[in-house]
Each structure stands twice: as structure tokens, then as C-alpha cells.
Symmetry: C2
Subunit: 105 residues, 2 copies
């Protein structure tokens, strides 16, 4: 059995992105963040829609068209339509933040 | 913000199945079980593949081609290929069991 909350190597400098499932139509990823954020001034502008859920930890997610970041807590999910510019302002510094992300066209 | 762990009505007699996302290629569901199981002697035999993750609670999942049920705990996930016969033997009687299920062709 594989587990979404399985331990990750300590002091991993980068986010871990693990593709759980991929077809011609979608890609399901498990992402584990340890305090990482999108580099200052950078925005994601994706060609695919992204459904994302935060399972553990916490994060601040900004949209270019909103004045304040949204704070995500365990269980929170949302849909980010293609080309809606967004960035991760912060992720939990004290525990792993586990995301599920489903990218699709 | 919508939340995967949002409270459900107490004493709900049936499982709750909520379609979170659907395209021509896949359907993402949130399922909340409160002790329900597949009726005795029945098996699921699905035309679609199903990726399923258990997020809270616990469950026993049997496959017709395995001698013993698998016990699923929070974070456990697996892929059930189309037409692999399976059934839910039990779900946690004491707390909601929240699943994410991604059905696809």
C-alpha cells in the first residue's frame, strides 16, 4: 500500500513532486512542501486547469486578481482555471505540507 | 473555500457521494462513509479505472482475487483497474471515512 503521508527524507531542499497517475488527459501529483514558496515576483501561468487540495500543513496562495492571499488548511481544495495567475506565498515551516494536484485540459 | 473534511449531517443513513469535478475523461468524487459497507455478496465490477485514497477513518477493502481484505488507513491510496472485482467490507464505525475517488477511462 502506498501512502500520501509517507515520510519524506529530512532536510530535503526542494519540493517533492511525485506523479501518481498520468493519462493523455490528466496528471495527478502528490506535492510535499517544507516551507518552500514561489520565488519572489514569479507567478504560475499554466496551460492546464488545476484542481488542488491541501491535506496536511498549511499554505498561503495568492491570485494576481485578488488583493490578499488565501490561507489553506487541511482539507481545503479549489480549482485554479488555466491561465489564472497564482503563486504560493508560503508553506508551513514546521511540518510537511502535502498537496494533491490534478492537472487537466 | 471548500473543505474535504467539512462536517456532514449527523445520522445520515447513506454514504454521501459528491462529484467535485467531471469532464468527458474523468470524474473526481468525495465519498463520506459512516460505517457503511458493500451489501453482503455484492461486488463492484466497474467499466472505469478508479484511483482511490482514504483520507480519514479506516476501511477494509476486498478484492475477489485476494484471500484477505486490505486495511486502509489515512493517506493510503491504490489503483483499482476496471473490472477488478472488489467490495468494501467495512468502514470505521466511530468516525467518518472520507475518500477521494478518481474514475477514468
Amino acid at each position: 500500500m502506498t501512502n500520501l503521508f509517507a515520510p519524506i527524507p529530512p532536510e530535503t531542499p526542494a519540493e517533492i513532486i511525485q506523479v501518481l497517475l498520468e493519462t493523455g488527459n490528466f496528471r495527478l501529483e502528490r506535492i510535499v512542501s517544507n516551507g518552500q514558496a514561489t520565488p519572489p515576483g514569479e507567478w504560475y501561468d499554466q496551460d492546464t486547469h488545476e484542481w488542488v487540495a491541501l491535506l496536511t500543513g498549511s499554505a498561503g496562495l495568492s491570485f494576481a486578481d485578488e488583493p490578499e492571499p488565501r490561507v489553506l488548511r487541511p482539507g481545503d481544495y479549489l480549482l485554479i482555471p488555466a491561465h489564472r495567475r497564482h503563486r504560493v506565498e508560503w508553506t508551513d515551516p514546521d511540518q510537511p505540507t502535502v498537496w494533491l494536484a490534478l492537472h487537466y485540459t
